[in-house]
Symmetry: C2
Subunit: 459 residues, 2 copies
């Protein structure tokens, strides 16, 4: 233990109860990494606050001794967001896991940041409501807010930023703010909620999150549309989005995944680019949406169309999509997964996907494409041996070329995974002088650079 740590640790122990602070090596290890390929780094201590006041006390110690803090949810981040690259205190929100206030008449719920997505939706079911953002992982809602997470339902319901009404945030100096009122809309003051959502722990620590809720649709149908080419599938998806259908998901799965799935799972799905669709709403709206969607698909050269409404059939239909990356990786035992995450304007998507497939071939990297094509966001799942320098070099080259192409056509280096450590090097290219504005905001709100230092704007 360094002299520095010897100074602040006793004060942290006094500020909290003994079982809220640990330096156990295994706990430090758990908090040294997320699910990404980035190099782990241990914090000096991990704390488990149980209230906003606990977080205030932690931030006061941080302020007094200049100790870095890193908020931590379930550790499912994909770009090294929670790696405490400068050590210090990791604030694990796992004990802040209460659903504090369900207000069905306001379509709002207040949760602590450690509540997970599945936990929340289980509690909401009896009200006929749900929280629609679905990044796949059963992430914590605080973490999802911190990275502006999104996913398959974003084409209909938006990303986290669209679905957080207000945040309670503990700032660098330990003061506590509410970022907004509970009104459905407001033109009062600057939009702090939108600024803190996606700030990745670099501006403050979230201790309460008010989320918007929506009604569970009366009727839901899942569909699958098979195309001769990725370009046709993307054109169909764009036309469906433009037609204002009751579309709640539209996902592209490239043929390489389907081929793998067939081989490993013994299925015989057509090995072609496939759109996985979901429609939700009143029965009438869903039925007319499906009719229109199948017409659009046919116009764009769809060679196979299925639609099912039974819940079990729907789940089965979506399996290939849900298991795509997982099944793909089964082919490569001992390999790790590197996920790319660009998002481009819709009109650029066919070219961007084509370019991505060329990159895989060119650099000899194993990978496939999954796309949230309604939003122009797609991922390559790259299979890499993390300790193999050549693998990492080639995969990083693919990622880098992909990002540069996306930015050159008006897109972004990250559609939903966030910046963390992995996308810092592209911030200047993507944002230009706007990065200086972001840095000015960071400097104004965290002048000592204690809040998740080394991330996001620290490029």
């Amino acid at each position: 233990m360094t002299a520095e740590i010897q100074a602040w640790l006793p004060e942290l122990l006094r500020a909290l109860r003994p079982n809220q602070v640990t330096q156990s090596p295994s706990v430090l290890d758990t908090h040294s990494h997320d699910e990404s390929y980035h190099t782990p780094h241990r914090p000096d201590a991990v704390v488990f606050p149980e209230s906003t006041l606990d977080v205030v006390r932690i931030m006061e110690v941080s302020a007094k001794y200049g100790v870095p803090v890193v908020p931590f949810g379930v550790g499912s981040a994909l770009e090294g967001h929670v790696v405490p690259v400068k050590g210090g205190i990791t604030i694990d929100t796992m004990r802040m896991n209460k659903i504090l206030d369900i207000r069905p008449d306001d379509f709002l719920v207040k949760v602590e940041p450690g509540v997970t997505r599945v936990q929340l939706n289980d509690a909401l079911r009896k009200y006929g409501l749900f929280f629609p953002v679905d990044p796949g992982a059963n992430a914590s809602l605080g973490g999802m807010a911190a990275t502006n997470a999104s996913g398959t339902t974003t084409v209909r319901y938006g990303a986290m930023r669209d679905n957080v009404r207000s945040l309670t945030v503990v700032l660098a100096d330990g003061s506590v703010i509410q970022t907004a009122s509970l009104a459905a809309k407001s033109s009062s003051g600057y939009n702090l909620t939108g600024l803190f959502v996606g700030s990745e722990g670099t501006l403050g620590v979230f201790t309460e999150v008010w989320l918007k809720l929506v009604g569970i649709p009366e009727y839901t149908v899942a569909g699958r549309a098979i195309f001769g080419s990725v370009a046709d599938a993307v054109k169909a998806s764009t036309a469906m989005v433009g037609s204002g259908l009751s579309l709640s998901r539209v996902e592209l799965v490239s043929d390489v995944y389907i081929e793998t799935f067939n081989r490993i799972e013994g299925t015989d799905f057509a090995v072609k680019p496939t759109l996985f669709l979901e429609f939700g709403g009143t029965r009438g709206s869903v039925e007319s949406s499906i009719a229109m969607a199948s017409e659009i698909a046919e116009d764009e050269g769809c060679v196979g169309w299925t639609a099912v409404d039974d819940p079990a059939d729907r789940a089965r239909l979506w399996t290939v999509r849900h298991e795509a990356a997982h099944t793909f990786m089964k082919q490569f035992p001992g390999y790790g997964h590197m996920a790319t995450d660009v998002c481009v304007p819709l009109s650029e998507l066919p070219d961007a996907v084509h370019h991505a497939m060329e990159l895989l071939r060119e650099h000899g990297v194993h990978g496939g494409i999954i796309g949230h094509v309604g939003d122009g966001n797609f991922h390559l799942s790259l299979a890499v041996r993390r300790d193999n320098e050549d693998d990492m070099t080639r995969a990083s080259a693919v990622n880098s070329e992909l990002v540069k192409h996306a930015i050159s056509v008006g897109g972004t280096c990250t559609g939903e995974h966030g910046v963390g450590l992995g996308k810092r090097k592209y911030q200047a290219l993507e944002h230009g002088k706007a990065l200086d504005v972001m840095r000015a905001i960071k400097a104004a709100l965290d002048p000592d650079d204690r809040l998740n230092p080394g991330k996001l704007v620290d490029a």
Copy 2:
């Protein structure tokens, strides 16, 4: 002309063409006020930039001589936003009125800030697309972005903040930034777009605005539902919003407006609280939505229901709503209009509306209620003689009580009109310590306080 102005005016004239700068008294007068009751104040000069570069040159003069600048669209603001309370330069964007780039496949359009809402929708019609935010007035899109404007369609499509993809902004020092890429979603960097939208000219001057577009619905139906009480009408509205219907507008008009309309226009509409509705989508979704909406209305005690799809009939049905404030004011020749603008959580709306009606009685002020009830936002139209101190005192008391009530139940002092001069005094009450964060951001981006000084966070 003061010595101060004598210093910067020649430089401004050199930076622009002569016909871009004026001190004509009538032009200064036009730019001394908006549509509100706030005390006018003249700028020292009005400039008419024609490009981003012109605005850069203006900001460079502003920076060199410390001259305040106030951006100005069409002057339809309702809280004194464009009143140059400290003089200086008003930047009128009327010549920046070009639609620069329509991208139907991306559902995006790039406009200069002086383009108006109606101008844009006229140009978009042939693509089957429209820009959905509708504040009533034919405002400039730059002004709408600056105040985070919204209106009758917000229940379906959101406010300006939800519909601006990216902004080109000239900052206080004359540097130019792009706030975001054109990707439909991004987790890259801080959300500058959302921060600048609603910043009311206090953080930078917008010179280009990328807006999101949506498809014109295949089928549209207008409806009217009459209720025995405001509480019943609001309950029905909330239930409709929660059911995920294809609802594109849901507006409450209180009986006082309907009574006035009948009296002045010779109509015989039922003098009761009335919901004006619009449904849009595929024919199937609209038809099933109407069936469900009328059932919900009936459950909540609806005493009269009409639905029409012919465009002329729809326009006629909506007349009472569109003309409500205007017709109401006809009763009070010589009186001006003061609009209140609170927004509360939906569950608080019946109480808030009841409380508002009590306030009108208690303070003896002429007024009626119009509500964007799907969002919890409602306006009182107060008839006041602006030069009558007693009128102004009583109307201001109503406004102030209304705001305090809204904030006390988790609402906001302004749902869509913005802060400007009129809502500054409530910023501390609404935002608490978050106001310090807003001020820190303002100080970081405009350290000399030259961008629309005396507004918003200057409370």
